[in-house]
Symmetry: D2
């Protein structure tokens, strides 16, 4: 019987894009996942802020893994769609995406996630996601 | 008087994240922008497909620049929010994001964009975005 | 073997809310559905415009029925989620919602729909929807 | 100086669509609004459940009024867009929509709202909205 947290960690380790973004899994609990991404100039848009797409990428991975953390053994998850509101310029030394399962369904799960910019000890909400995830049988 | 297409090209060149993604501006017309991104293993998720976040990033930039291409001189644009549906696994040699302005407003513009995976001469629709953009006075 | 268009018409006739809204099916083709709603004071918001919720309701039904029009026999459809952008105040003698299937999947379909306000011979785009629909076996 | 709660109540009373839906304001606090809607057969879809559009309508009004409850005096609010996830069939004696301001901006505010179906003393989450609201000067 596989440990759901380990299953999330194994999958995350295979997401090369997370390495490219400098993102790491900070916490995995049943139905709750945190991903951290450090500020890097390579991720910026024209004003020097972190690109909304980079923030969205860690929000998306956090939502998918939150759903995976409560999915039945042998199941896989895919993002069907998501919506992101960008609330403030993404300015910080690092960013934290925190996802929660809002509804875990047999087929369809819904997760919400917030992204925070961290400067020193201060956290500021910079984006929020509402995502739809589908559970599918894992490829054997 | 600045050329809107040049304004888009200048801003795109300053988005370091587009360089990180291997993305380039393919076409800028009033209200219509195309961005191309080559397949790279550094952008993949756990199954070896291009990460939804990378696809979303070029869709977002394409929508923003489509709005900027018809914005008044001296104005800047910011993404307020977007929604993306992921329609098929993003498998291809390269990806093309095509954005169109659906409604150009004084304050709020709405753009839609499709992302296609390209293999040889074949294009397959893999994602679609509906985005809200706000026009703000450019910083002087 | 049931006629898909007839299946849509039968289901629509059972949506009491469409009667409450004064909405009627105007056209059903494979993958494309049009619903019309007359202006009525009972549907207005505080400024006397038609409430965004009423417009959204006919957009949602149009998307669901567009998906149903191409679903396999014996299948049913449910809205998983939708996003609506409100582009202009909904001012008109009547409103037309036009939905198209953007991607018909075995499980998940994606539809887009536009709502137009009609005054005399003029149509104005007032809202646009992007919707996710799931196909489920019909109850026997 | 107007009481924000009174301003919300006055505007709600002018939304004829809320009367058509049998909806009433249950609570108005700064940044938090609750609307209740009774089950009525006139609001149902083909399976006898309350139509997603009716649920969405009260979620939308709740989000708008949550934003209005913290808007500056003399300002008005308009929905720019919203996304709704439908989590369970809307089956209940009545429904409650609870909206919260997630970010109150000078121009753009973001609200989230949940809709619950109520049966006896039990509440079940049936839908969730993430909405973008714009603040505009009220017409004089």
């Amino acid at each position: 019987m596989s440990d759901p947290s380990q299953r999330v960690r194994n999958s995350f380790a295979q997401q090369q894009f997370m390495t490219t973004l400098g993102a790491s899994l900070r916490s995995v609990k049943p139905g709750a996942v945190e991903i951290e991404m450090l500020f890097r100039a390579e991720l910026t848009q024209q004003d020097g802020f972190t690109h909304a797409g980079a923030i969205t990428s860690v929000l998306d991975s956090a939502c998918g893994y939150a759903a995976l953390s409560v999915a039945p053994e042998g199941a896989n998850v895919l993002s069907v769609e998501f919506k992101v509101n960008l609330l403030s310029p993404a300015v910080g030394e690092r960013f934290v995406a925190r996802a929660l399962v809002k509804r875990a369904g047999r087929q369809i799960s819904v997760c919400s996630a917030d992204a925070f910019a961290v400067r020193g000890k201060e956290e500021k909400l910079v984006a929020t996601m509402l995502a739809t995830i589908i559970t599918v049988p894992a490829k054997s």
